[in-house]
Assembly symmetry: C2
Homo-oligomer: 209 residues x 2
């Protein structure tokens, strides 16, 4: 397959554009201007055109982009047409919410396993799966062919879980615990901080006050 | 106060640096190199130096940055030293998890109200607050001096909730519903997509496969 060299911030914006285009398609809209995409995504029109030009999508002056064609291209670029098998490690409130999150399935993410250390949770249904003992984590990664692990354990346990995931062969980890964790080179890691967006908002409020 | 003109992507990285520095402080580390910050944040050293130079923080060659001083500067820049009063609109699993999220309080975000349309939830405790009827949303925004609203209702109801929030004077909205919403100019909005990070990971997996 073709490998695109796209800066990470652009990839993040492409994800936002793809969601917007999906919504426009559902509304029956055929074409959209870079200005309208820009306004909805909160960036400049020039930025939109630059981002889309990375993979050869160019709008027509005065007409804009064809919504459906652009949407399909973006899905392919972003791998949204691939199915990804995910595991949730830590079924507290957040892990539980994620296991049941309806937004995942539409995007091709299927929760195939959930594990926790708490005996009260083991055996309970969490969305599409039954919570298993965290002792079985390594075994489930292999048996369920897990491609992506979501860490939703308390901060103090996050690094240890990450080390176990890496040792078990995980190549993609999403850490929701409020701490920075480290993984060896070659493992894809994203630290998700639910407060990041609030801090961005807070910063913008400060700037405009 | 001083207004910094910092690109949004830099602000997002500053948030990551600030979390890393907080962790280093807790570990008793005095100085840190741009290379170490870079490695943990997953960016280049040059990027770290550029981001920090925006607000006049420069490391000493061969020594690096003073952790505590840099941490305090970042907190001030990002407004992390401010307290923000937040409201949660929609107390489903995700809203509930956010109401109880321990990471918010440390960062200065206090949940002051939570509202829902479901009579089964109204009157129940969700973290530090009791769920109120969504009919009382406007009244609670004023009474609790809400500065930031988190939308965690289903996608189909998100735009209507946003319109009501804007009409009630909300200036900062964080939308967790899996859809893009629109607000008038002057209102700070961030659309949070819990799958964005998974799609970034998925994209990185594709690139490296």
């Amino acid at each position: 397959m073709r490998v695109y060299k796209i800066p990470e911030a652009s990839v993040m914006r492409l994800v936002v554009y793809s969601r917007l285009l999906g919504q426009l398609m559902a509304e029956g809209v055929d074409t959209v201007s870079s200005r309208d995409i820009a306004r909805c995504a909160g960036v400049s029109s020039a930025q939109v055109r630059k981002d889309l030009a990375y993979f050869g999508a160019f709008g027509t002056r005065g007409v804009g982009y064809q919504v459906e064609r652009l949407y399909d291209s973006l899905r392919e670029i972003l791998g949204q047409d691939k199915q990804r098998r995910i595991m949730i490690v830590g079924v507290g409130r957040l892990g539980w919410a994620l296991a049941c999150y309806p937004g995942f399935y539409n995007k091709g993410y299927t929760v195939k396993a959930a594990v926790d250390v708490n005996p009260m949770l083991i055996g309970k249904a969490a969305g599409p799966v039954v919570v298993a003992d965290i002792k079985r984590m390594e075994e489930l990664i292999a048996a369920q062919e897990i491609e992506m692990a979501l860490i939703t354990v308390p901060a103090a346990a996050a690094q240890e879980v990450a080390d176990r995931l890496v040792a078990a062969g995980s190549r993609a980890i999403l850490n929701f615990a409020p701490c920075v964790i480290r993984v060896p080179h070659g493992v894809q890691l994203r630290n998700v901080d639910l407060t990041v967006n609030m801090e961005m908002l807070s910063f913008n409020l400060l700037q405009n006050s």
